[in-house]
Amino acid sequence: MTTAAPDAPLLQVGTLTKTFGGFTALDNISVNIKKGERFGLIGPNGSGKTTLINCISGALKPQAGSVVFCGEDITQLPPHLRARRGIARSFQIPRPFKSMTVLENLMVGLDFAAAGSTAAEEEIAMSILTRMGLASKAGAPSDALSQVELRKMELARAMAVRPKLLISDEAMAGLSSSEVDEVLDLLISLGEEDITIIMIEHIMQAVMRFSERVMCLDAGKIIALGEPAEVMANKRVQEAYLGT
């Protein structure tokens, strides 16, 4: 196993390029994410946010560039091996294991990504669910959940992988403002436990409150990267969001 120097970045994305036919979704993206950082990823629709995290989680393979996690080059690894190394994600449109209960959904991650005995696994799964406020739904079939419960379950399932890096892809889309606060509080409390989090989000108050650094993508390029207030004040960011 490779252990990185203590001050080395947890995730290094180097000159990443991803094209779909003639369309360049990611154009030469380089960014380092520090251990324990809360990182916001913003950009208008179609700017490449989800493509970037698909390349980080392994759902897509880039044409060029590299992804280095904990000092190890994982560019060619399939998603399940990245999950075992500690990269977990939620999906923009929730993708629960529909034929399973909420608890069983979590057991998948505990079974395959984080080794341990079954008895202990159920305890861990229950403690994650309690944390997420889903304990009362543990035995419920996952296709009977409400939207906010589904979002929380996706995060809980990602947590069951015991991640070092958690990527949340618009976990708050379509939620009411009180629900947004609820999910945001959860993410912030996870960040306090040494889990590095990348959050993709359109809801600006959430991004501002959550992030230590924000990166804005537009048409596959980084147009701003820095502290939240700084990025929001950036002219190009405002243009990308509001149009010229």
Binding site: L81, K98, S99, T101, R157
Partner: protein, 321 residues
């Protein structure tokens, strides 16, 4: 409920089944029940084997006949070349079926849904064509086989084959049950629900599908191996008959694919109906009945017999609710 007491009940049931089958071969004199029962047992084993890939993983395999036929002809070729005993024929068929499952899986399991199914149909046609042109095993005309003398404690070869097929059923059910309760079963269920989400949750989807395809294939070929001795004859168009694929699939779907008991119930129901109809009306009618029952179940009970018996069976694991 307690896992351990479940296991004890299961293996006790298996022991009772095997003892019952064995004593039946010793007591009943008429050969016909064994002749008919063999076919039902054969379909139970085939349906259970099919469910490991088709049900647990959701990859619909139309190539049951390819694996079955490969089992038949592995046994025939081995018997003709070396006169190997039945057990060796079955073991060899299982190995060949497993290798075939590995090869087919590697080539086709990256394809999703309907593409995998189409590829498995093509597989059966390719292998059947190959066997048709293989002189050593009789080619398209088929081959007659002389049964070796029967072994004690059986007094007829058909009775012995009936017992052998019962053992194969036990092996298939034991393996299916083990997979269902294991980590692998959970992984297959996850990838059936959502393959990308499963991958991102740490499930090695391609590896699990491959293993499921190899186990399923090995069992199907093993089940096919005694068929040549049963009929004392083998020919490509009956060994590779599409009916095996359709039946295995229909029996699993009618029984329900989420639990190993599903294909067992489906095969008992359909298999015995077919045997009954073949005797009372005609052997052609049973294909019609198969079709009608499949339509009725798909419309009325999409989760099969087990879905009807326990509509809320999936809530068992959660506790509350």
């Amino acid at each position: 409920m307690n896992k351990r007491s479940h296991s004890i009940a299961f293996w006790a049931g298996i022991a009772v089944f095997l003892v019952a089958v064995l004593s039946m071969t010793q007591i009943v004199r008429n050969e016909y029940p064994f002749f008919a029962g063999y076919v039902i047992l054969q379909f139970i084993a085939l349906a259970v084997a099919w469910t490991i890939l088709g049900g647990y993983a959701g990859y619909v395999n139309f190539g049951t006949n390819a694996f079955f036929g490969v089992g038949v002809y592995t046994a025939v070729a081995l018997f003709k070349a070396t006169g190997a005993p039945l057990v060796v024929q079955i073991a060899a068929a299982a190995v060949v079926g497993m290798l075939l499952g590995f090869g087919v899986g590697l080539l086709t399991l990256r394809m999703r849904g309907i593409f995998f199914s189409i590829a498995t149909i093509a597989l059966a046609i390719i292998i059947e064509t190959f066997v048709m042109n293989w002189r050593f095993v009789g080619g398209a005309a088929g081959i007659q086989l002389q049964r070796p003398p029967v072994m004690a404690p059986f007094d007829s070869y058909v009775k012995m084959l009936f017992f052998v097929q019962a053992v194969l059923v036990v092996i298939a059910v034991g393996i299916a049950r083990y997979i269902q309760n294991s980590r692998m079963g959970r992984g297959l269920q996850a990838l059936r629900d959502d393959e990308l989400a499963a991958e991102c949750t740490g499930v090695p989807t391609l590896k699990l599908k491959l293993v499921a395809c190899m186990i399923s294939g090995a069992l199907m070929s093993a089940v096919g191996a005694p068929a040549a001795m049963y009929l004392q004859y083998a020919d490509p168009s009956s060994a590779f008959n599409l009916t095996y694929s359709v039946s295995a699939l229909a029996m699993s779907l009618i029984g329900g694919t989420a639990h190993w008991i599903g294909p067992v119930l489906g095969a008992i129901l359909l298999g015995s109906t077919q045997q009954f109809l073949a005797v009372t009306i005609s052997s052609e009618v049973n294909v019609l009945v198969l079709g009608i029952m499949l339509v009725l179940f798909v419309v009325g009970a999409p989760k099969g017999i087990i879905g009807l018996l326990r509509p809320r069976y999936r809530l068992r694991a959660g506790g509350k609710q």
